[in-house]
């Protein structure tokens, strides 16, 4: 096993980053994968799908993939005297001084398959400890943030402005800044059914003049106006209107029904529970089930967005954090397995999907009274059959924290975006650099 010191020397914790981003990745080079042999990744598919999982609240990834060797371990043991996960029985060794918490359900299996690219220490040059500032920065993903999102700008470029309404979807009720473009925004669809017009709130009554009302609403949405507020309302309404009238969505505004054969967290047959013995949260699993249903129904979406909240563990971390990890890891693993049961016209869904999980920041190394405060560098990871599993970037040096006791970042988050835009979403290198406002080094996992 590579020691932490060798690992850092290989990657360079400061100066050599830009040149060495993928030094540790690629076919497991420099990393152990928990005992399995790393398979050759499948080629990037012709019709790739990106599924974003937003780990909302700033997750304490230091307890998800804690250090298990070298000086980092020593610092971790000192600063995480009560919350630290140091018992080897609770961990899977990932090599390079990094371990995987077994509460992160299913991720050890995905890692052993060689399908997970871990990017510890991902962050930005001028870190901010505000959730909302960081959410905006991560969402915007630009050298010079300007109010729109990196995937929104991708949509501006790639999506047909008069069509493609279902090509980018969020299954959350809000529209994150990440998905806002200048000329195009994603559609928010939170349910598989009832996506008809006008849909009654509670009853099954029918509207006497439904066709008249639908036409009348469409007339109002299409009318021109110089008022930016009215235009925003019209655009939002029209996205819904066009989506529910899109033949791809399904007869009667309802997606083809689907019951996964794979159990998801929260399902009665799902074997993993909360520490209390109660069922896990279904918040993320229900979103990923809906995305699987959308993929199975053949929606033309290329990008999906989902979110699991609750990671702002200022308190009660010893209970909340394992439960959250089980729901997050378990949902991703169930979704990944579920995709193997879905055959689309463009091929097996599992071959087409890559999952990208990220959070706005990591948490303070030093614990305080049962919780952790806001920190800086995070852990992003990508899951998929085309992913070259392993560790990318460098694990932060816990002996060299910033003046607030936070970790120094080792990989610029826009390098992740550049890699995904160019090597997964098929943007040309120059177009990718334009979308991000600068040329960020690519990571080697694709």
């Amino acid at each position: 096993m590579t020691t932490r010191r060798e690992f850092i020397q290989t990657l360079g914790s400061t100066g050599a980053l830009l040149a060495g981003l993928d030094a540790c990745g690629g076919g497991g080079k420099g990393s152990s994968s928990g005992g399995g042999t790393t398979p050759t990744p499948t080629p990037v598919p012709a019709s790739p799908i990106l599924v974003i999982v937003n780990i909302d609240g700033g997750y304490d990834w230091l307890n998800v993939t804690p250090p298990n060797a070298g000086t980092n371990l020593g610092v971790y043991q000192t600063k995480r005297a009560t919350l630290g996960i140091t018992n080897p029985a609770l961990l899977t060794d990932l090599g390079s001084g990094m371990a995987l918490n077994k509460d992160f359900t299913g991720m050890d299996t995905l890692h052993a398959l060689g399908h997970v690219a871990w990017i510890p220490g991902i962050g930005m040059p001028n870190p901010n400890l505000s959730h909302f500032t960081c959410i905006d920065l991560w969402g915007q993903g630009a050298a010079v943030p300007a109010g729109n999102g990196w995937l929104g700008r991708f949509a501006d470029t790639a999506f047909n402005p008069s069509g493609d309404v279902l090509r980018g979807l969020t299954v959350t009720p809000d529209l994150p800044v990440m998905l806002k473009g200048t000329t195009r925004s994603f559609v928010s669809i939170t349910s598989a059914g009832g996506y008809v017009y006008p849909a009654y709130l509670l009853s099954t009554s029918t509207v006497p003049d439904a066709a008249t009302l639908e036409t009348g609403w469409g007339t109002a949405l299409s009318a021109s106006s110089a008022d930016p507020g009215i235009l925003a309302a019209a655009q939002a309404g029209k996205l819904f209107f066009d989506a529910q009238n899109n033949p791809a969505f399904g007869t009667g505004g309802t997606l083809t029904a689907r019951t996964p054969t794979v159990p998801y967290p929260g399902d009665a047959t799902y074997p993993v529970l909360k520490l209390s013995g109660a069922a896990l949260s279904t918040s993320l699993s229900s979103q990923l089930k809906l995305i699987a249903q959308m993929i199975a129904a053949g929606l033309p979406a290329q990008v999906y967005f989902s979110r699991l909240s609750g990671w702002d563990t200022h308190s009660n971390q010893a209970v909340d954090h394992p439960n959250l990890q089980r729901a997050l890891g378990g949902s991703i693993k169930a979704f990944y397995d579920d995709l193997a049961t879905i055959t689309t016209t463009a091929g097996l869904a599992q071959d087409r999907v890559m999952i990208l999980a990220y959070s706005e920041f990591g948490r303070r190394v030093q614990e305080n009274n049962g919780g952790t405060d806001h920190g800086t560098a995070g852990l992003a990871f990508c899951v998929g059959k085309s992913v070259k599993g392993g560790l990318y970037g460098g694990y932060p040096d816990l002996t060299s924290l910033d003046s607030n006791g936070n970790m120094k970042y080792t990989t610029d988050f826009r390098s992740l975006y550049a890699t995904v835009l160019e090597r997964w979403l098929g943007q040309a290198a120059t177009a990718t650099d334009t979308l991000l406002g600068s040329a960020y080094p690519r990571l080697g996992f694709l």
Partner: protein
């Protein structure tokens, strides 16, 4: 620049603009009554709640008869033991219809109560103000897990929402729901303990200064020390019993207490319900350095929390930053999102000049030429809850009449909030924002999903949706087209449109759109019959969910 001099006369349209922004709108008839008064005096009375127009007698009477009725017991069949024939109940019941297993801590019921208050409170301004502060001091039930404490916080906003901002900020910092929400109850800085920064960070970032605006990480950790141990206790009188299960108690009130190791009152419980005679000691004693000032934060023997001086120093030491922050929030909620940097500075100067007296600030702002200017008219997208409340104020019977209707003011809001998490999907989960940053306003209210659910909500209202339960069918929102909407019969399709537009007050709708609607609904001759009355409902629905209908 923002002209903050007061208007001296106003039109009916001006009075309606004011009522939409400073309340939840007025019908044309009520707006005419307001407009007959001089604007300065009328706006003072509106804000101060003086005069017969704001007499809360009927409202308080309805509140006093409010109670919880378990939904399975709602039945017209009185042979069913314990059943309640809702149609026979003598007054509107804001609390009516409660799930059997969620006694007293149902978010949906609390949301319904709040929406019902907005709909019927004659002093609409205090509900509008509470809504404003609820967004600014955004606190979420999913962590507080106590609707009574959430509603207690809302009441704080009603009662103190026009106080001086530093006083309000101290009261919010001591509020039990807030103490749970941002972990003040777990902020232990006694001895060598490292304080929990959660509240100290957000009180500056989100509640008084804005991100990175006049403070640094050291200020956060120092303020966290000052506020360590800020918590609360429950006295026996703070609990209410479940009438159906006397052994079950629910904490409905709480009182501030610094946990500094001193005794707590007899018959008093700690914040987590534990019995004790002394509080645990979480409190840092000594002094802190905040914004380069040294402040003693040791709580005195009589319980006075000197840490409140640290809260007040945010305003005293960073007044300009705080005033700029408040100006942004007030402008975006009450006036326009299209303000200039100079407008913001002008309002910030007003705030500092008024020594952060919110009553003076709000009165000046809401009387100003700037507020009434053409550029501010319909310049904001309305938040979904107040938008729906305003529509109910225009289309549903007011309280005294409502209680005489049959069925008698069925608690629409309880059913609306109960179903499909309507408020959540419209983008404003009342009393339960996701995070302490609340909801972004104006165009951020709009996306395809929120527009979908806005359409669904007003379909329930305008199209007279009903719900059947236990053999009785109730309208979700009782509405009466011929008596309330059209007290005199309209003579033409255009007259139907004109009346509905006057009631619902959308931003200007292009003539081509309204003409197309009328041509489709009344393609031939117009007769004011039941078919036309149904079409009037459909027209109201189209106005409400049109793009212009989202602005106010």
């Amino acid at each position: 620049m923002a002209d903050l001099t007061a208007i001296t006369s106003w039109t009916l349209a001006d009075a309606q603009h004011f009522a939409r922004r400073a309340g939840f709108g007025l019908t044309p008839a009520d707006a005419a009554v307001l407009q007959a008064l001089a604007p300065g005096a009328a706006i003072d009375a509106w804000i101060d709640c003086t005069g017969t127009a704001y007499d809360p007698a009927a409202f308080n009477a309805a509140l006093a008869t409010a109670d919880v009725v378990l939904e399975p017991l709602v039945s017209a069949n009185t042979a069913v033991a314990g059943s309640v024939d809702v149609a026979a109940v003598a007054a509107p019941h804001p609390f009516l219809v409660q799930g059997a297993d969620t006694w007293r801590n149902s978010l949906n019921t609390a949301q319904a109560l709040l929406a019902w208050r907005m709909q019927h409170n004659p002093h609409a301004f205090e509900e509008r103000l509470a809504l404003f502060w609820h967004n600014l001091f955004a606190t979420g039930w999913h962590k507080v897990d106590n609707t009574a404490l959430m509603l207690k916080q809302l009441q704080l906003f009603r009662s103190q929402g026009l106080a001086k901002f530093d006083d309000l900020l101290v009261l919010v910092s001591k509020d039990p729901a807030m103490a749970l929400w941002l972990d003040s109850v777990l902020n232990n800085a006694a001895g060598a303990n490292i304080p929990n920064e959660n509240y100290a960070r957000e009180v500056m970032e989100l509640y008084s200064l804005g991100a990175d605006n006049g403070y640094n990480q050291t200020d956060i950790t120092q303020l966290a020390r000052a506020l360590s141990g800020w918590s609360f206790t429950f006295a026996e009188a703070d609990y209410i019993q479940n009438p159906a299960n006397p052994g079950q108690k629910f904490a409905a009130d709480a009182r501030f207490k610094v946990y500094d190791g001193t005794a707590i009152a007899p018959d008093t419980r700690l914040w987590w319900g534990g019995a004790a005679t002394v509080s645990s000691n979480l409190h840092a004693t000594g002094s802190i350095t905040l914004f380069s000032q040294t402040l003693d934060v040791t709580t005195t023997a009589n319980g006075w929390a000197k840490g409140e001086n640290a809260i007040r120093s945010i305003i005293s030491a960073k007044g300009s930053n705080c005033a700029q922050f408040l100006a942004r929030r007030l402008l975006t909620h009450f006036v326009t999102a299209g303000y200039s940097a100079q407008d913001q500075t002008d309002v910030a100067n007003l705030i500092q000049g008024a020594a952060f007296d919110l009553r003076v600030v709000l009165k000046t702002l809401l009387k100003s030429q700037f507020f009434f200017s053409a550029a501010s008219r319909y310049a904001l997208v309305e938040g979904p809850v107040s938008w729906l409340v305003r529509a109910t104020r225009m289309l549903c019977p007011a309280l005294p009449a409502g209680s005489a209707q049959t069925p008698k003011g069925y608690p629409a809001w309880r059913l609306v909030t109960n179903s499909a998490t309507t408020f959540d999907q419209m983008g404003m989960k009342l009393l339960d924002p996701t995070g302490p940053n609340g909801w972004k306003e104006h165009t951020a209210w709009l996306n395809s999903n929120t527009m979908r659910y806005r359409a669904k909500a007003v379909a329930a209202l305008a199209l007279n949706e009903t719900r059947a339960y236990n053999g009785t069918t109730y309208p979700l929102f009782p509405t009466f087209v011929t008596t309330d909407w059209f007290p005199s019969a309209p003579a033409s399709a255009q007259a139907v449109y004109d009346r509905l537009a006057a009631l619902l007050q959308p931003a200007p709708i292009p003539a081509s759109v309204s003409a197309a609607w009328l041509a489709a609904l009344w393609p031939t001759t117009f007769t004011w019959d039941s078919a036309s009355q149904t079409k009037a409902r459909e027209l109201a629905f189209l106005i409400l969910c049109s793009p212009s209908g989202q602005l106010y």
